[in-house]
Subunit: 433 residues, 2 copies
């Protein structure tokens, strides 16, 4: 008999099947026993009035690994409308310790530290399972959208020679007796690879040694990076980002209904054209609507972003808003200035429900511009020598963006902490599990 | 006019099109000028007898970024049977320096150090482009095959608390004032995730501080990792690996003909059932066929693998051979012993054309077995505490394998050095580009 998965049972009504998984719950109610099995995809309930059927499970606690055979039966009041009748159990791995938190309650009641300390087991909870299954769906949707648009996937080094991009907040390691660093982003490499493939993406870990202990920081996360050439300006990049975001949500909509329902998530509509507002106009708008004068500030505060998000919702009916033209002062040296107004940049942030979700923009592409930008920033050329080689030998106008996988999940699912969107988070005090 | 890519030109014969890319070559032969443009996908040649057409390129060296319009014309002796006639050129990024190596010769003549020092530009060479496009194809085929079999993708931490798996050859880093390490493999995490999703895979960087300077070692590479539960033994894992390898090659066959032809690669046939031989029988066979007595050696030498590869080819007509049951002594502590003969393990290597390509096997799954294995190996329990939590709370029989992306490419393409299968390799002396 072929093993089936819990989520396949509905298509086997009337058949004798075999399932394998974890002993999720056992309840007895007035002579009737309910045994719930959980596998990698969901749960299913077996029902029997014969106490002897449970004999093989006599010495087994919850989380024992078991095999269960029986007849799939349609029962309207059962979860998902099906149950297993005439169950026969056998034990694969008996367990007698109680798990660190109950896995069979609908909600997890344990505090965050307990959840994180025991993530190895807590991630088995159906809600946690669903979060990380959606993470896989986000990555798959990201790649599928870009592959359809002739992007090529690359894998670039995570050990790098210099702490270049920002100069700070990098992890240092001992590399055969000399210093090396962990890449804060694949920024330089993805730009270099535009010179090879024109259109590239990468999904991989990035490392930030930021000494911040907030609900919105972890020190290692998964970055979904895109870079491509032959753009007009940052609006070409924004148009692509719109397609990528829409592609990600379309994939979740099509293939992850079970997880979305379990987590009670409503996917946002992605407008055909996402509204956009210039940074300076956004500050002016905040002044007019809320009487707070943030004009001249070099960046938007979280409160500013919330106000702008509310405005986009009210004015455009959109969960999304592009803010364009951030001041050059706050952007990295490779940022392309607005040719019309060089104090501002050809860059953007994408706000989702009033919080920054994605940063991107147009980059410099001319070698002399890079030399000038490094001089302007007071940076030496030598550590950037191999990066600059790409521009010495011809690069097209290009740009890109990076989406933080965990941040996207956090905002989409309304999670209270970025760590809950991370399988095994790394923060200032946490290196395990 | 919509921009088209070089490889799309064949479907636009007779049409006026626009292409953008790099100035790959300019030749003049008896009043006729040939201008070759290279983009992210290939090259195309424009032809004109009117010298004035080239005027916009007068100040441009090779690798200048250009735009080219003209009429796609079928010409039997042209590369790919097409040329651009009546070309009009414009310059996007002019370049006047000669690239570090000629990019428009069919073969790269430069030595390995030069190629690696200037990989930023050398990777633009059509042959190098093709290698890394195939890398993307291998990853895509790997994921597609596993997604079809209900595997879930995971992304696990690369910064870890202890140098556990082998105890040596790990990179150490400064993590907010304490020691941390770079993951040598996602082994522990992928096993843990079998407890969550049953069937998982991961594509990501792994870091090996091995002080080896050979043509077959780099210190950071991309590992294609698989792990899954509810197996019978290592033969279940081998059967899955066969499907994954076949899926990877099927994807290359279907979608990467251009690159395979450019590199003159013949994809191997993957037999419906890959032949297998037990480690002890393999040593016996070498003794009988070659008179070399390696019986009792704890591992196979490269020469042994070549002999076995030749035997598989001759006896079974197969490029592939599984060697099973390696002695326990050489395998890591989580390896599952052969229940019939505990000196040997339920593990395997997959040889491809006489060289090891993949290692895998069945793992221990019972908590008491882990405690015994750690004691046997003389390892303390404490650094493994969170890993062991997975087994304390129920794990099914499981196993998996890891494929080195660069090694697969090297062997498939017949490259002389693993570094040539790596975009920007890291070795004992190389941290840039």
């Amino acid at each position: 008999m072929e093993k089936i998965r819990t989520i396949e049972a509905q298509t086997h009504v009337g058949q004798h099947v075999r399932l394998q998984g974890w002993l999720h719950n056992v309840r007895r109610m007035g002579g009737i026993s309910f045994v719930v099995l959980r596998d990698g995809w969901g749960t299913i309930q077996a029902v029997t009035e014969n106490e002897n059927d449970l004999a093989p499970l006599a010495d087994c606690g919850l989380e024992s690994v078991i095999s269960m055979e029986g007849v799939v039966t349609a029962v309207s009041q059962a979860p998902n409308g099906i149950e297993i009748h005439q169950p026969q159990f056998s034990v694969i791995t008996p367990i007698n310790e109680h798990p660190p938190i109950p896995l069979n309650k609908r909600q997890i009641k344990a505090g965050l530290p307990t959840q994180l300390d025991h993530a190895v087991v807590v991630n088995r909870h159906p809600q946690r399972q669903a979060v990380f299954r959606l993470a896989a769906g986000v990555m798959a949707g990201f790649r599928a959208t870009l592959n359809d648009m002739q992007f090529t996937e690359v894998q670039t080094p995570k050990i790098v020679a210099s702490a270049t991009e920002s100069g700070s907040n990098v992890f240092k390691l001992d590399y055969f007796g000399r210093d090396a660093f962990l890449a804060q982003s694949p920024q330089f490499y993805k730009q270099i690879m535009v010179g090879v493939f024109e259109r590239v993406f990468e999904v991989g870990p990035v490392f930030r040694a930021e000494p911040h202990d907030t609900s919105r920081h972890v020190n290692e996360y998964v970055s979904l990076d895109v870079e491509f050439g032959f753009i007009d300006n940052h609006f070409t990049v924004m148009a692509l980002l719109r397609e990528v975001i829409a592609g990600i949500f379309a994939n979740l909509q099509a293939n992850y209904q079970t997880e979305l329902e379990l987590l009670q998530v409503n996917l946002p509509m992605v407008p055909q054209e996402i509204p956009h507002i210039h940074f300076a106009a956004a500050q002016e708008l905040i002044w007019q609507l809320h009487g707070e004068d943030v004009r001249g500030e070099p960046d938007l505060s979280p409160q500013d972003e919330r106000w702008l998000g509310a405005w986009a919702q009210q004015e455009h009916g959109s969960d999304f808003l592009f803010v364009t033209g951030y001041p050059m002062g706050k952007r990295p040296f490779y940022t392309h200035a607005d040719p019309q107004n060089p104090a501002y940049s050809n860059s953007f942030d994408l706000l989702f429900r009033g919080t920054e979700l994605v940063t991107g923009g147009q980059r410099l592409h001319l070698y002399p511009d890079y030399l000038a930008a490094l001089a302007q920033a007071g940076l030496p050329e030598e550590p950037f020598e191999t990066y600059l080689e790409a521009f010495r030998y011809g690069m097209p106008p290009h740009g890109g963006f990076a989406i933080g996988l965990e941040r996207l999940l956090m905002q989409l699912l309304g999670l209270s902490n970025l760590r809950l969107a991370t399988l095994f988070p790394r923060d200032m005090t946490r290196l395990t599990p």
